[in-house]
């Protein structure tokens, strides 16, 4: 459910362990060590079962699509938190702000003057011929130049100071409800534990999100802006999150059919008659937003919505066309964006990426499949990928055939030794690979709630953290103290 695959992969599963390093417990994890040591036997087993019940009872589910009908599942929640100290977070936060500023500057530019193409810093074709580049957005700049009102930047860690961006999720990143529910669950399950340590709070995220959305209301909207969350409906895999966020923000959760356009203004049908809407936090993809502009067969959207948007009568968050910024074929150029727009060196590094559409990269990829992770440039959910070191020769051969048929659809990255964190599994506590998705809010200002969603690959040695592929989540603690 959590958008696109996050997979870095390691040939050798022994990555950097965030708790045990160089024969000692790292400082941020001392509180975890002390806590675990003091627990009675079976305590974790009991709490683990309690946690599962709790999530099922609250109804935190996502939907897995399969032939046997759609199933509602809960994502496994691991009860051992992941910990970052204040310094580590401060560095990450600076890096995230920088990256997201650059991404938004890129979007403003690419839909207006395209200076970065003129300057030759990014080739034209990967942008202009990319289906994610939306000509409909040309010469239109959203309020405050904010496109990625919510960005989920996937971070992997390879060492004490080594953080890499695996991918930028700029269109409709999901998962923040799990971040919030995980903390809530920790507070309920272990009231003492959180009470004894200075962990940065995150429960104000919905308020920050609402502030962000209000800050980008059309400048001439009458009175207090009305914000609503547009969902594709209850059959969407992230519907739980949509309803959760709407509820937490105290705004209406609307579907396309609840809205209509009159005189280029968006209205919602209410029991008291039509009411104007100024900002739509939409969790519907561009393609489905408006059958008059995008896919004609869409029934999830609102006919005429895009006209109201271009007229400046409604703000859509995230903006239309942001997906060009998180397209995997554009990812390799993000560090260049930081340099070009901000005149700074990027703080967060990219994972080296091979673009199979380029002949020299392609031949390298073909001859090194056993060392690489190959993914679809526009796939989602971790289905269309090859984890070279873990694949059989036959699987690699099959994948190579697909690759040869459409090389431009794929990118490849070296296998990375993702960091591990202590995780509660059947055999007890064991290290498992993790990544991190912090959520960056972009409105009039940029705001980041400390931490993010930690996803964990529960199977031993596995590097795939996607919930659809057996991944779980953890609470992520940012300590307010330095270690």
């Amino acid at each position: 459910m959590m958008g696109r695959e996050t997979q870095a992969a390691a040939g050798h599963s022994a990555g950097f362990d965030e708790m045990h390093h160089a024969g000692a417990c790292r400082a941020p994890y001392e509180i975890i060590r002390d806590w675990l040591e003091g627990l009675p036997p079976d305590f974790l087993l009991r709490k683990h079962a309690e946690a599962e019940l709790l999530f099922r009872r609250i109804g935190v589910t996502f939907t897995v699509y399969s032939e046997g009908g759609d199933l509602e599942r809960t994502i496994p929640f691991d009860i051992i938190p992941r910990v970052l100290d204040a310094d580590e977070w401060a560095f990450l936060e600076r890096g995230l702000r920088q990256r997201v500023r650059a991404l938004n500057a890129f979007l403003v530019d690419i839909y207006n003057g395209r200076e970065i193409l003129r300057a030759g810093r990014i080739p034209q074709a990967p942008i202009l011929l990319n289906a994610s580049f939306r000509p409909e957005m040309q010469n239109f700049t959203p309020v405050h130049g904010a496109y990625t009102h919510v960005a989920g930047i996937d971070i992997v860690r390879l060492g004490p100071r080594e953080f890499y961006v695996l991918e930028d999720n700029c269109r409709v990143p999901s998962g923040v409800s799990y971040m919030l529910e995980n903390r809530e669950a920790m507070t309920r399950l272990f009231p003492g534990l959180l009470g004894h340590h200075r962990v940065a709070p995150i429960s104000h995220y919905p308020e920050e999100l609402l502030d962000t959305l209000r800050s980008v209301a059309p400048p001439h909207c009458p009175g207090d802006p009305t914000v609503a969350l547009l969902t594709p409906g209850i059959f969407n895999s992230a519907y739980y999150e949509h309803s959760f966020l709407a509820d937490e923000m105290g705004i209406e959760l609307v579907e396309g059919a609840d809205l209509f356009i009159d005189d280029n203004i968006v209205f919602v049908r209410t029991t008291e008659g039509p009411r104007r809407v100024d900002v739509l936090y939409r969790r519907v993809d561009d393609d489905f937003l408006d059958p008059l502009t995008f896919r004609s067969d869409s029934t999830l959207g609102v006919p005429g919505l895009f006209g109201a948007y271009r007229a400046g009568n409604v703000t859509l968050a995230n903006a239309v066309g942001t997906s060009i910024a998180d397209d995997k074929s554009i990812y390799p150029y993000v560090p260049e964006m930081v340099r070009f727009y901000l005149g700074e060196e990027p703080l967060l590094a990219n994972v080296p990426t091979f673009d199979c559409g380029r002949a020299e990269d392609f031949s390298y990829v073909l001859s090194h499949l056993e060392d690489l992770v190959v993914k679809e440039a526009r796939g989602s959910g971790g289905y269309g990928m090859l984890v070279g070191p873990q694949a059989s020769a036959a699987e690699r051969e099959t994948f190579a055939a697909r690759l040869r048929a459409r090389p431009g659809d794929y990118i490849a990255q070296p296998t990375l030794a993702l960091s591990t964190c202590p995780t509660y599994v059947e055999s007890g506590i064991a290290p498992r690979h993790v990544d991190l998705r912090p959520f960056v809010l972009v409105g009039k200002k940029i705001h980041i709630v400390p931490g993010g969603l930690t996803r964990v690959a529960l199977r031993e040695g596995s590097l795939v953290v996607n919930s659809s592929q057996g991944g779980g989540t953890k609470d992520t603690w940012v300590l307010e103290t330095r270690c």
Binding site: L128, Q138, F140, I261, D262, N264, S296, P303, G307
Partner: protein, 269 residues
């Protein structure tokens, strides 16, 4: 030449429609080959329609009718002065770079047959000559016939059928040009067939292709000419869907009866 256009679209329904929403690309803008003297777009039910300029530089009117109706009308009326030229479009709003127009859509996606067709017609010819050859061949091979294709017919289907209308000629031309690596786009507009010719009761469509040293050059494969002062250019896009004079949806209502009247008259004295 001064041309007067009266373009009327009437919809009627067997049972009432709850609501109608439309985007109208019916408004010519000035370039070196045409000057808009007057133009208005209106619907029977509404006041002035709100509008915006889209990513291709088209003027788009937004029409929303949120009450039950059994009939709806769209009227575009105006006068445009056109100038004879060499078929090259100069001085038009050009927000998108030419390279963009190499992008294909569902309507222009070539199949093997279209690719072969394009390469065989072009041979070793330089771009401009190749495009003229394409236009000539399409005119010769794709007979003008109404009622055999519709708004969803693709370029590949047109080649296979061997007949169609101006929209189909244009899609095939665009698809073939893109096969040759030449940026091409769809143009919607109006056509005056000459005083003594049969009136042409339809909105017209043709194509433009980009040649490095010349810029955008127009090709009307239906008439086998590079557009002249008989053509009024109203919208551009990657294909018909992007440049369509009317793109709409309606809620409710059973079968629809559509009638379109286009009158283009020369008012030069």
């Amino acid at each position: 030449m001064r041309l007067r256009v009266h373009h009327e679209t009437n919809y009627s329904y067997d049972s009432p429609v709850v609501a109608t929403y439309q985007m109208l690309r019916l408004t010519p803008r000035a370039h070196d080959g045409q000057r808009v003297i007057s133009w208005r777009v209106q619907t029977t039910h509404g006041h002035d329609l709100p509008s915006f300029i889209d990513g291709f530089g088209n003027i788009v009117h937004c029409h929303a009718l949120n009450r039950r109706h059994k009939e709806a009308k769209i009227l575009a009326i105006g006068e445009v002065e056109t100038f004879a030229g060499d078929g090259i479009v100069r001085g038009a709003a050009e927000p998108m770079p030419p390279l963009f127009f190499l992008r294909n859509t569902a309507l222009t996606m070539p199949d093997r047959a279209v690719e072969t067709f394009a390469r065989e017609v072009a041979g070793q010819l330089p771009p401009l000559a190749a495009l003229h050859a394409l236009m000539g061949t399409i005119r010769a091979r794709i007979a003008y016939r109404t009622g055999v294709t519709d708004a969803a017919t693709t370029a590949a289907e047109v080649l296979e059928k061997g007949c169609g209308v101006c929209q189909d000629h244009s899609h095939l031309f665009i698809a073939a040009a893109r096969v040759l690596g030449i940026p091409a786009r769809y143009v919607g507009g109006y056509f005056w067939p000459a005083a003594d010719a049969e009136p042409y009761n339809a909105a017209h469509a043709w194509a433009e292709a980009f040649i490095d040293d010349l810029g955008w050059v127009s090709f009307d494969s239906t008439n086998g000419v590079c557009p002249t002062e008989s053509h009024i250019r109203a919208s551009v896009g990657l294909d018909y869907l992007g440049a369509a004079p009317v793109r709409g949806v309606r809620l409710g209502g059973a079968s629809e009866t559509l009638s379109v009247t286009v009158m283009v008259a020369s008012i030069d004295q």
